[in-house]
Symmetry: D2
Subunit: 365 residues, 4 copies
């Protein structure tokens, strides 16, 4: 396939450009019989939406989702579910001036090299706007996982620039514009954003996602491991440059006695592996993280070239987030949910005969 | 598919257990007309092979590869290339004692939960032995990339436990058992391995892989981005817990002015993005890294359970590497090469009409 | 995947129910740089549309297609092309009476067994209305094939019930409501339709499709042969029960001396094989045929059961074609075009290095 | 993928050339816990094997299959099952003379056009020898279908040239070298083969396959319908030119009142549709047929060209079947079984929540 379809049994095929008519997707493989309406999807879209606070871009994206198919009398039918989000705020003129130049560290140059043509309006297909579609599809996956398996998928902002948020209170995450798990640090976050605006600069972020309630057994070794597919999903989000499972990059410096998760009849004694062993879920919490680069759309001028190859000094104007990572939490949750539901369907297709194995121990002792 | 096939157009289907009859793979989609023999593949297998120095496991794996099909009179024919590596050193008795217990942090527990049955001999399918197959397939991909495109894919050990190797001399990498890029640090590495043996412990590692000479345009947004597929490939290697592209996880703390790669008519001024922008190669070096956990097979006893759910104290015996990361360099190179060739075939299938775009600038100014 | 995506590199993902909000599809993998607008697609939709003559159903389906994405300033960009056709004539009341019964030989019973739920309105997802989407996607494929390769894909009605049309004048095919290649037989076809309406009955049909101008080399043995993928494509059209390549079913009674296509330096002497040999195109015309069953939606009552398992006498009312095969010609053309473009992209991805082989002979001596 | 992998969840990846080292395959996705040994596979290979009677080619192919992986202590483990069949009778000299000419109606010309190179020894990859691999993989699928679902997949010779075998006694099929379902017609079949040998000619055949005991619900509309995937599977067998489901091609001449399968509380009243409705199995017998062309390898000389483009008179020598269709019965059974198991796994992955629907009626009243 050509890169815009995600998943093997629960597939999401995404389409749409930032300033085109609409963006949307087709979900194929959603199990039948689940109640579903726009009201199940809209809340996650609203969480991702720009313009909800002064700390994110003030573009107005209505992001109203419509279900075009696959639902009958309020229930999924097992046929494809098409979701459509019309683009209402298409101020192309904001972008006309960048039609002939390549913004540094944007996809502009790579797209023209690959396709020989690009829709420059708002980044076209490479715009973060496309991620709204993933959030919408992820909401459907999350609903199924929650209702059928009791699995919850939740994320939070773990770091923004120099500010590391290591105290996690899940009850706070959705109460602030930053998805910060620590309410006491919000003033610091606000101050940093204000400073960045003044500096004409941007900053990176770290998001952590945790899935709780997973059954053991999800993941298909050797290539389509659960963690490998999580990595594919998260590295596929715009601006992500690093992905971790469990202890992540710091395992390079760890010792075996320190890292291994010992097991007792009462449960696991630790979760350094982040819930995945040999590429298969263990029943512990799935814990993963993603690092998002600072957006390159900043007002501090930078060197670039135009489409004739001439040197230009480039200064991005328009409405941009000083930290695109802030809005990435619902996107990351969505991608993790899409991986999990796909692996659930694959696993139960192949292993329907397997009796739940004994001994099965608790996620935590 | 069910997880043992990698790639879309250049596919590798892997099979085999650590102590079964043989391991091997089928490569489907290799372009026809390339000269190929076992001699093109064996050197990379020998680089990965255990027992080549006292710093890695002393198991004797002959790892002699045979080409069973797809090559005629010394050239590839475009039909499937089957590679076979027979298992010659199958001392199952070493492993009989672990048949009824789950080694902590190994795949044992997850496999039994998923499949209800497991081949416990040497880890069966979850053994690192399976990675020999990837190295063999990767050697075929590397040859094509080098001969047709002038692309080289090379890796090195960037960190082992606390020892960070930041001086890179490519000429040294294949001259030592550690794939260290800095000959002067080898005594330190040797001392650490000796210490770990005495401690009955193990340590993690960081491998970096660099692909040079890539054309711009490889990668299929939005889901099958080049970097997303690299992440899938590398996180799919046994024991990997983190994957980075370019600046990787540390982008979370960076500013936009610091991270963005400015462009001039003479070339890029930096490569923080690791050669990928918007999921598509830019023509700069592709730079990625993977963190490998310390092996859980250590002689220091650890808590675990047996197949009846009883608590046991587990002490792994047998021949194990104190740092499995040492042998991971050729594996990581192979996986990167497999991603690149697959994307090359996909790209030229879809975009054969595209004229090389102007302006195309140099990887580095 | 879950069955609503067609193709590997040029993929079409279809969605929508007969009486839902809309039907449509996402085309992923269309090469960039081709001019495209709704005007390139609408004519084929109009050819398929019901209500264009008194010989087909009088339902009014507007079938106005809109391009939602993937086209910028009149040219394809290489990103997904979403096509949308809104449903405007949704007289569900016509179908309310069949909500609780299973129409004989319709998909009703099979859908409820598979999914436990079905959208009964007009057949829901199993309605022939879904094929409008294929025609739209096929129009895009046909345009590329024609412009880049000079390949034309054309079909005609070869048989309707007892009437066999064996004189082919391509110039006539699109001049009549039957896609008859023989204008002189049209009165017979009209008389048969009138008779069927009086009888409350329906009749089957045979469609033949011919692709001219194909390069040799398309098709991926051994499973994804060109002819195997054509068979998959055509048997996947509603109501098709048989598919033939070249001489088709009658090869069972033929002798080798009669069937083999001899070759001379001037070209092939015959085309019994229908343009495919060993699963690969030979450069001759691709010739295939499909047999379409008589529609089961007839006014003559038939035995069936209701959703409680009780016997019922079933008489389909509403607007139905006495011969659904009449409208199948553009659908079959579309499916053949989709197979050809997909194989073209796959072939040139893998075999870009292959020099056009000598000797290459003419399709016909 | 590149054409040598069949299936989505139960995949078979085939490799090997007629006169290479070995042929074989990797089965990925076989459910764990099924007992399996070579003895489960060998009987079907022996049924397909040449040289078992004087009516088929006297080549000696030992066709001894070995299981290389995926089975532990006599049971499948859920990991890939590699099957290997070594080539023992490689008399390449028989074929040396055809290295520089293209046999009419063979794949020779198409392969050289596609790949620019071909393994001419015995047809290389395009040889019917490759089908041994499919038979081996199909035997694994058949075993699972039989043991877990009570589904049997059986075929027979329905026509050879002018001889139509319409009396079916399943007990006779495997008692004769022709897979004839009617013992009384065997002398006629023998006489025809003898005549063809004298004439230096060959003849086509029709094979019919019936699967009994299928649950309703298998098949994924709209593209991956059960019948569409059967068509893909059967048209993908060497030399097949036509595929039918149920009444097949003759539906073109039928009326709706004649073709529709009426339903009663006691069961279906007929099975014209061959067990598939809307692309989904109904629970009735799946009935399909395939037409196999007369082999082009005949001793009567025919016109062809050599690799310099010169006209040659071609006379195939060597050991060839006057009717390759005779040996196709086990191959066709295997392909049907592979489609069924794949759809079973897909169906139960997606629809595990669906309660068996009421009313479910009998296959036959």
């Amino acid at each position: 396939m050509s890169g815009n379809t995600f998943g093997k049994l629960f597939t999401v095929t995404s389409f749409g450009e930032s300033h085109g008519v609409a963006i949307g997707c087709v979900i194929d493989g959603c199990p039948p019989g689940m109640s579903l309406s726009e009201a199940d999807i809209q809340p996650d879209l609203d969480r991702r939406k720009p313009g909800t606070s002064k700390y994110v871009t003030q573009r107005k994206e209505d992001d109203k989702v419509r279900i075009l198919s696959g639902v009958f009398e309020g229930k999924t039918t097992g046929t494809p579910i098409a979701l459509l989000i019309e683009n209402t705020d298409q101020r192309s003129y904001d972008y006309a001036k960048i039609a002939q130049v390549f913004r540094p560290n944007h996809a502009d140059y790579a797209y023209i090299q690959k396709y020989g043509i690009r829709d420059h309006r708002g980044g076209g297909r490479s715009s973060a706007r496309e991620t709204a579609v993933r959030v919408a599809a992820g909401a459907v996956a999350k609903k199924y996982l929650a209702e059928k398996l009791g699995v919850t998928v939740r994320g939070y902002l773990a770091q923004m620039g120099p500010i590391v948020l290591d105290r996690v209170d899940w009850a706070e995450v959705n109460n602030n514009a930053f998805f910060s798990p620590d309410a006491s640090r919000i003033p610091e976050l606000e101050a940093l954003i204000d400073q960045l605006r003044r500096d004409g600069d941007s900053v990176g972020a770290l998001i952590r996602v945790v899935a709780t309630g997973l059954p053991p057994g999800l993941g298909e070794p050797v290539f389509d491991r659960l963690d490998a597919d999580i990595a594919h999903a998260l590295m596929g989000i715009n601006a992500v440059k690093g992905v971790e499972i469990g202890d992540g990059m710091k395992v390079a410096a760890m010792r075996g006695t320190e890292h291994r998760d010992e097991m007792t009849p009462q449960g696991f004694l630790s979760n350094h592996s982040g819930g995945v062993s040999g590429g298969i879920s263990t029943g512990q919490d799935l814990v993963c993280a993603l690092a998002i680069k600072p957006t390159s759309s900043i007002t501090t001028p930078g060197k670039s070239i135009d489409s004739d190859g001439n040197a230009v000094d480039m200064r991005t104007t328009g409405r941009h987030d000083p930290c695109v990572g802030i809005r990435a939490t619902p996107i990351a949750e969505a991608m993790v949910a899409l991986v999990l539901i796909d692996h659930l369907l694959r696993h139960r297709g192949q292993n329907a005969d397997v009796q739940p194995a004994t001994p099965r121990i608790a996620p935590q002792a």
